[in-house]
Structure formats: structure tokens, C-alpha cells
Amino acid sequence: MLEARGLRKRFGDREALRGVSLSAGRGELVAVIGPNGAGKTTLLSILAGIQRPDEGEVSRPASEIGWVPQQAAVYGKLTVAENLRLFARLEKVEDVARTVDRMLELTGLRERADDQVSKLSGGNRQRVNIAVGLLGEQSVLLLDEPSAALDPRQRERVWDFVRSLADAGTTVIYSTHNIQEAERHAQRVLVIADGEAIFTGSPRELEDLVERGRGERADFEEAFVAFLRQQGH
């Protein structure tokens, strides 16, 4: 379970986050969506402990939260197994060999364990990236645009993996600008615009909200755009 309350962040004159609150339960998949520059990455950076908020608080320290950055943060010259071993040792994991073995199993990369990461496809590299984020076996995982720059097949593989984590009880919060991905995988979405949280609920609830406002049913993407317009964004 993760909870954040009243998060505010300023960069000079620009207010990137204006009192955003969020909560996610065990095994829940929460998508953070919004237009470009809305504050999605800033929110995830604060939740991950990379940036400090000017105001507000997060219920868990960074050490208890796994974080997967948008671009694979692994060493291309090291093999998959070497990357996992290195970060497991830095995370001070007790049984490094067992943990690495489990991650290789979980990511389906056992056969590629001895391949250098630079030689993997984008999808497999992202799976290694996610696996490194999970090494600490934290119960909360933050994913920043996890499927950006992946082809549909690779994207599908990554989402299968993420869903399996949530099914196993991990709380997953991810940011995306791909509305279909939010609709398809998230149980709950947090819509941010201009640093402000303007909606939180299931994708269906957002569609219902828009339908009530304009009298006709729309798919999720149309509903999202219409909602932003209604809110003046």
C-alpha cells in the first residue's frame, strides 16, 4: 500500500505539482495519465525518492519502493545475470544467487542470462530494467512509461510480466501517455493536468462521467480528451 498526500513541487516560477494526493492498495495497478508536461514524471520521481517535494508527504521511504525509470538503467556491457547480480549486491540482498535466479525465471530471460544487455531487443532490455527494479523485493513498484519505444509484441510481453507482478500482490503505479494502455491494464487511473490531480477512479468511471456531461457514450480515449476539455485543459 502506498499513500501520498498534498504533494507540491516548484521549479522556479513554474508549479509542477499542486497538492497531488494518491493512494494505491496491495496488488493494485494504477495508471498516471495526462498531457505532456502535466507532472507525471515529477510525481513518480517524488514517490521514488529521487526528488523531494516542497510540501506533502509519501507514506513509505524510497528504500521500500522499487523504481523502474523510463529508459533502461542497466549496463549494456554487462550480461543480464551480471546486471542482476551487481544490483542485488548493491541492494544488499541476502541470497544473491537465489534472487537473481528467481528474477531470471520471472522475466523469462534465463536463456539470455549470459548475453550482454546491449545485444538484447528493446523489450527484453526493459524486462531486465524492470527485474532490477524488483530485486529489493519491495511491495510497491513505480514504472515510468514502461512501454515507451517498444513495438507491440515487446509491449505485450512487458505488460504480461507487470500483470503477473500485480497478481502476486505488488502494488504497481505507472505513468503512460498511451491511453489504451491505461484503459487496458489499470484498475484505477489518476489524471493529472498542469500539476493538478483532476480525476481518480476506474477508466469506466471516467467514461461515465463524460457521458453524463455530454449525453453520449464515448470510448476511453475520447472520454479522456473530452474530460480534459471540460476541465479547461
Partner: protein, 446 residues
Amino acid sequence: MRWLLLKDLRILRRSPLLVALLIAYPIVIATLIGFALSRGPDKPEVAIANLVPESATQVELGGEDIDLTAQAQPLFEAVDPVNVDSRAEAVKKVRDGEVLAALIIPEDTTRILQTGLEPASVEVIYNGEDPVKAQFVRDTIKSQVQDANNALTERLAQAAVEYLGLIGTGGQFEIFGRTFDVLGLERSQEILTRARADLPAGSPAREQLDSVIEFARLALENLDLSDEVLSSVGTPIEVSQTRLDGASTALTSFAVAIAVTVSLMFITLLLAAGTLALEREENAFLRLVRGLVSRTGLLVEKAGLAAACSGVVSLLMLAGLSLFVELDWARFPLWVLAIFLGALAFAALGLAVGALTREVRAASLLCVMLSLPLTFLALVPDAAVSPVLFDVVSAISAAFPFKPTLDALDAALNESGAIAGPLVHLAVLFLAFGAISRLSLRRFAG
């Protein structure tokens, strides 16, 4: 931190081309610089038109025959002579670029020298297209002609002293195959003294003889000083060399210090800057500093790796160079100290470069761009530029680790001065650049 260090070493091991370049490039550069400094310039090709007939190369000065060809020998050894038969041929060779310059020794040189009444002259012709080469050849010829002039002046002065001796004490003098007996002032004085004694007392001629005898005595006394006077004319200014301070290092040993410092600088800068910038390029920096490693710890790891690698390469380089240049192995602990502190200061500078540029390629480029001018500035001799400019050059050199590392290594290798000052200087630079790199990490991930 140990796992990060092992990771970096593994990455380096998997980049053999990079490692080879990283080691080979500075060593080649260092060797070239050392070679250029320790070896003098090549002899310039100079056309020599010696128009003096072979039968007239001897000059007789003071009864002694001087062979002009022998006198000119040092000049011929200082250049690569190309003998030509005429002035026109010499001019053509210079104009065509076959030689850098030409030296014309006219036909009447020995005759003019023989008279001793006017100076003989030689002619130098050079091509002005390349001012550096022209200056070099002008200086070489001028210096060698000056040496020949000095030798001839000495001979002329010696001949003059012998003539004056003849006037003073008298003796045999040979000219045009005939021998003359010169009375000399000494014997003249004796004859006059005897003649005066034969004159009656009160004779007016006695008084006149007294003034002549007195003149002869004074002249004789003063002629005794003539050899000293003529010696000083032969060499009006003598050079007495005294070293008050600064290095007394042989050029080859100094070249070793330069070669090792250049290698140390390149390897440390490139490794420190490159490995730090790589953490950002691989996007791993934020993941690492999210509680896995502190920012300062990361800098210490990179500095340690770069300093250790470059230190080992530098010591191996010194061991290799010691096969060709005599080095005092008893001073090995000082070598290690100088290399270790120099490497740390360079590593801190490299980290600052890596933290500021944030990309491996940009960091590498900046390291090279920084290294070359720093090397040349540190090697500018104080007499080569104006005092104000030299102060500026010294201030710039003092702000970077190359000059103090070179001073420390020179002191360690060659006992050329105190080592403590440069070592303290390096420690200060290490702290300063370390602080800059730590501050730069604040915006490193952005």
C-alpha cells in the same frame, strides 16, 4: 563500492580497443614529446660555395700558419653541407628549396685576412618562405661564424703580442725571406744609458738623453701590460655560468618526467571523466544514488579506479624507460608519491569534466582539448614570453594539475628541487576539483 569498482573493471575489460587506445595514445604522445625535447633539431642543409683556391687556404699570422679550412670545420659539422662551385649555383639551390641557405666564402678571404687591415666577409643567403627554418639556419651560421671569429681574433691578438714583445725586448724578425735584427726598447735604453755616462758632466746633451731614456723605460714597462690588454680584446666578454636555483635536470631525464606526466594526465582524465559520464549515459546514475551508493562514494570509486589504473601504467612506463635512461630506483617511494597525488588531482579534474559534460564523447573531447594546451602552457620557459604573459601562463598552469605533477615527478626522479610544495599543491587541487565535481553532480541527472 567494491562491486561498482569490479563492474567498471569488467566493463573496461570488455572494451579492449578502448583500453588499448587509452594506454597507447598517451604513451605515443608522451614518447613523441619526450623524444622531441631530448633530441636536438636536425642539421640544416646549407650550400657551401668555398671560392678560396685550395692553394690559398693558409694564412700566416704572427709567424704561424693557420689553415682556414680547419677553422671552418665546426661550421661544416653544424650543418649538412652541400658543396657547390659558384655563388650562382648556391643561389639557385636556395631558390629551388634544395637547401635552406647558402654560405659564400669569397676568393679573396685569405688575402684580406693576411693583411689584417680590414675584415674579411662571408655571405649568407637564405630563403625567407619559412621564417622558422630561416631563423634557425641564420642563428646556426651566425653562431658558428662567431666561433671562427673568436678563434681568429685570438690568433691575431697572439701575433700582436709577439710583435710588441719584439719591440720591447728586441730579437730576430723574418719577413719576405729576409731576417732583420730588431734592437728593442730594452737594449736601446741600455745603449743610451752607457752613452750618457760618456758625456761630460753639465753637457746639455745629457738632459736630452735623460728624457729619451725615461721614455724607453716607461714604454717598456707599459708594453708588459699589452698582452693582457690584447687578451681582453680577443675575448671582451667571457661567460661565467652560475646556477642559483631551478632544476639541474638533464634534458633526457626531464623528458622522462614530461612523458610520464602526459600519460598520467591523459589516462586519468579520460578514465575518470568517461566512467562517470557513462553512469549517466547508461541511465544508471539515478538508480545508484537512490540509496544504493552515495554521490560522494560514487566519485571516490571513479577517482580511485582512474588513479589506480593510470598510476600502474605510469610506473610500468617508468620501469620501461629506465632501460634507456638512468633513473635512481632508490627514490622509488617518491615516484609513487608523486604519481599517486598527481593521479588523484587529475582524477578530480576528470570527474569535474565528466560531471559538467554528462556525456562520454563530450567528456573525452573536453579532456583532450584541455590536456594539450595545459601541457604546452606548463612547458613555456619564462624567457620565451614577456613577464606579464608569463605570470598569466603560470597562474593558469597553477590552477590545473599538470605543472605541479611535472614538478613533483621531476623532483622525485631527478632530485631537481623540493617535492613537498608540488605535493601540497596537488592535494589542494584534488580537494578543489573534487568539490566542483560534487557540486556538479546536483544537476548531473537532469
